[in-house]
Symmetry: C2
Subunit: 297 residues, 2 copies
DNA sequence: TGTTTTGTTTAAATATATCTAATAAAAACT
DNA sequence: AGTTTTTATTAGATATATTTAAACAAAACA
């Protein structure tokens, strides 16, 4: 799998011009070249760019970042994420689960996660274990400690768990409000959305779950027939500000009769304009409060 | 969402040259044009192309197809798929489920599908109802009778059901052989693969399920550590023959120590060369026979 | 405020993709 | 076998994306 500089622009939210000048000035990336001298990039390079962007957003200067060795960058990335969750037991669970995942040991993974779901309930298990696990997986991918196969293996087991618990809840009637859940066309990671679906159902809300990669045009076609009170979506990927803005503007127009709830990449969401009418969900706690006491649309 | 002619080539398996000449000679498609006169296409046009290709593969001449009206094409498409399954009850189930899906009525859908799973078991329910339902959904999308939101809604409930039943099975120990299941990077539809995972687990096989969009590079990196006996994947999308061949050749090289099982689009698979070592699974029955009596690798 | 660092804009050149049109080759039909 | 239909190949022209390089603007910093 290789990427053009335009692909990198989309995936990182950094203009191609800037990517080039970082290369020229700081040797940030070392792209491969086609016969005709056009740059192209592999996963290794994509990861490096995402790491640079991430450290840059956390305050480091580009020149500084690019002067560091790979191992120094690794350390800084660790510092960004590996603050202890405060609870040693939780950290232990996460570590063990990842160990099992890397060994593709489904049986052991299942036992441990089932045990912790039994103990804490799915909601707290997600907060304490699954969510930190997913964060760490993302970081490990960026550090090249795991490959996509590991991530797919683990996320499908987690998907299985949440789906199973949602299935138990389908006995619940819904007395609450009507929520429409989906991800934009170019987003893949639906586990957070799936968990939101679970939480809403726990509170007896009525959920229409569409999952990932739903074209906005399709939402437009069906929206008026749905009579939903709330729309919830995640924007997780890095994006160029104008693209994100355009998407949210269109969404707002299409879903003007519902309250929109937006979660995800705060770097992207933070740069949006005209979102006073949108509920930006920054933490899981905020989300729980939102759904506990029904909002007025 | 719009597509370039190169996108259409990938999605339909028809060379861009041919797409252009079909337009010139038969007015097959009516692309939009950029300022600079470059063609681009919308979902409507993509569907039309896929319909034309499908009818063409079933034996009709291009010139004939393009002389037909939209409604005549619809009829022919129906004939291609709507042969009765032989059982009126099953057809009724499928129809009702789709009705509920179009209304986003999860409760009714759940009741009916749970009832039929209780009655037939998941395996027979898949064969009689879920699989025909998915086929019909695909056809309805191509006829523009449903939009992606409907398809996402329905397929996520079905995913929920299969995941739940797989979760029950995780108590099973595995005494059988070790299977690795995944889809190529550009494939989305994982329900068939998920069902295969269920069937294998029912037979006490050991399954490593990776799901959709796994890069082959990643398979390469982990394959040697896995010691799997079997690799199973689907190729569902239309592809250009050389691209499909290249993928299978690489896969064969990477997974040379395992038996490869391939299912999906017979138009694509049928054109492959050098696949004597690959088990082409053409029907569900064939698959069941394959996994009932362990193969020698 | 002045300096450094960083990101954006411009320009002209080149690479890549697409366009039209004509011809050749292959496949299907009679 | 000959005709029709369809697909593949070629060529030159144009559109779009990428390249380098320089100048400019904005932001960060001291």
């Amino acid at each position: 799998m290789t990427y053009s500089i335009a692909d990198l622009e989309q995936l990182s939210g950094i203009h191609s011009h800037t990517i080039r000048i970082w290369e020229q000035r700081y040797n940030a990336l070392s792209p491969l070249r086609s016969q005709g001298n056009t740059r192209f990039y592999d996963d290794q390079q994509l990861r490096k760019l995402l790491n640079i962007v991430s450290l840059n957003k956390s305050g480091l200067k580009i020149s500084k970042i690019c002067s560091l060795s790979d191992s120094e960058i690794d350390e800084l990335l660790d510092q960004q994420f590996y603050y202890s969750s405060g609870d040693k037991d939780d950290d232990y669970y996460v570590g063990e689960l990842i160990r099992y995942g890397l060994a593709f040991n489904e049986h052991a993974f299942n036992q441990l996660i089932d045990e912790s779901i039994d103990q804490f309930g799915l909601a707290d298990c997600y907060r304490k274990i699954i969510y930190p696990l997913l964060l760490r997986l993302g970081l490990m991918w960026r550090k090249d400690d795991i490959c996509p196969a590991h991530e797919h293996f683990l996320s499908n087991i987690i998907r299985q768990k949440i789906f199973t618990h949602i299935n138990y809840l389908s006995l619940h009637g819904h007395s609450g409000q009507k929520w429409l859940l989906f991800l934009p066309e170019d987003e893949d990671h639906d586990i957070g959305l799936l968990f939101a679906s679970y939480m809403l159902r726990m509170q007896h809300h009525h959920v229409i779950f569409l999952g990932s990669k739903v074209p906005l045009d399709s939402i437009k076609r069906i929206f008026s027939t749905l009579n939903v009170d709330h729309v919830m979506l995640f924007m997780i990927k890095s994006r160029l500000a104008p693209a994100a803005q355009h998407y949210i503007d269109r969404l707002s127009e299409i879903c003007s009769t519902a309250k929109i709830h937006l979660a995800g990449n705060s770097e992207v969401i933070g740069k949006l304009n005209h979102i006073d009418h949108i509920n930006w969900i920054k933490t899981l706690d905020e989300f729980e409060k939102t759904i506990a006491s029904p909002l007025n649309t």
